[in-house]
């Protein structure tokens, strides 16, 4: 999300042009919302539904947005919460799935080499907070301060979560790929 786009959305929102603010947000964020949702729910159709359902919540809540954080932060929080809700609803289904692709997104828009697929498998074994923290920090390059607002966790807690996540992923990746030299690629 560019600063320019964020400013344009904020300007429209400030002048109560909520439909324009929402439209700009959709144009700039739709794919990012989908990516975030897909990494959590791991299913294409569910991720699409999450984006749509989160959009309804965003639209309804837009006039109440306090402007005390970036739109992207506020919007990500809604998407993440919606995705977690969808995940909890579908957890029994996901748990019943078996096979090597467990933890790997199932989507026509997902393509991964073996190493990346293994990373997703390792992520699937992490506790929820560690997994979310890792995804937002590692894949999205989000600063801890923003992740803190999205997940409602202290920055200190997030740093600890990320550290534990990295250590555990390294361990699992070494087990899955004993021949790969991770140290030289760190």
């Amino acid at each position: 999300m560019s600063t320019h786009a964020e400013a344009a959305i904020h300007e429209a929102w400030s002048s109560h042009a909520y439909d324009r603010a929402f439209s700009l947000m959709a144009q700039h964020y739709a794919s990012d919302f989908y990516r975030t949702a897909l990494r959590i729910v791991l299913d294409h159709a569910t991720a699409q539904d999450v984006v749509q359902d989160a959009s309804v919540k965003m639209w309804r809540a837009l006039p109440k947005f306090k402007g005390d954080s970036k739109f992207s932060t506020w919007a990500y929080r809604i998407v993440v919460n919606e995705a977690l809700g969808a995940l909890r609803k579908s957890k029994n289904i996901l748990r019943s799935l078996e096979g090597v692709n467990i933890g790997v997104p199932d989507s026509p828009h997902f393509e991964a080499d073996r190493l990346l697929a293994d990373l997703y498998r390792a992520l699937a074994n992490l506790p929820e907070r560690q997994r979310l923290t890792f995804q937002l920090r590692y894949f999205d390059d989000k600063p801890y301060s923003e992740i803190s607002e999205i997940l409602g966790t202290s920055v200190g807690g997030l740093k600890a979560n990320y550290h534990h996540a990295v250590e555990r992923i390294k361990m699992e990746m070494r087990e899955l790929n004993p021949d790969y030299d991770f140290e030289s690629n760190e």
Binding site: H16, Y18, D19, F22, S23, M25, A26, Q27, A30, S31, F33, Y34, R35, L38, R39, Q48, V51, Q52, S55, V56, M58, W59, R60, A61, L62, P63, K64, P105, S107, H109, F110, E111, A112, L115, L116, L119, Y120, Q135, Y138, F139, V166, I169, K170, M173, Y180, F182, N185, E186
Partner: protein, 115 residues
Amino acid sequence: MNKMNKYDGIHVPPEAHQDLVARMMTALDLPQQGAVPSSRSRIRAISLWAASVAALLAVGLFLFSDGSPTESEVWVTEDLAWEVFQAGELELSVDEAAALLDESELNQLLADLTY
């Protein structure tokens, strides 16, 4: 971590992006919360203001009257003022109502009426 893997493997092509945008835009068909007060809540708010003014007028008439009612005097009770307002005989804009009361008086009356 292997930084070569930092890409999450998810690539949304332009047509899929537009499909997601379209999905998001369907939300605009739904009403918002708190964007514009509904007519009902606006009427209720204005009613409270007008009722406050009516009640104040009734109190004023009572205080400035010189005792028991005579045949020529019209007594305005709070209930009567409210009935008059509800019957549409008394019309006040919010600005007019606000002009008749200072903030503390209005707050007190509103608190009394809404208790």
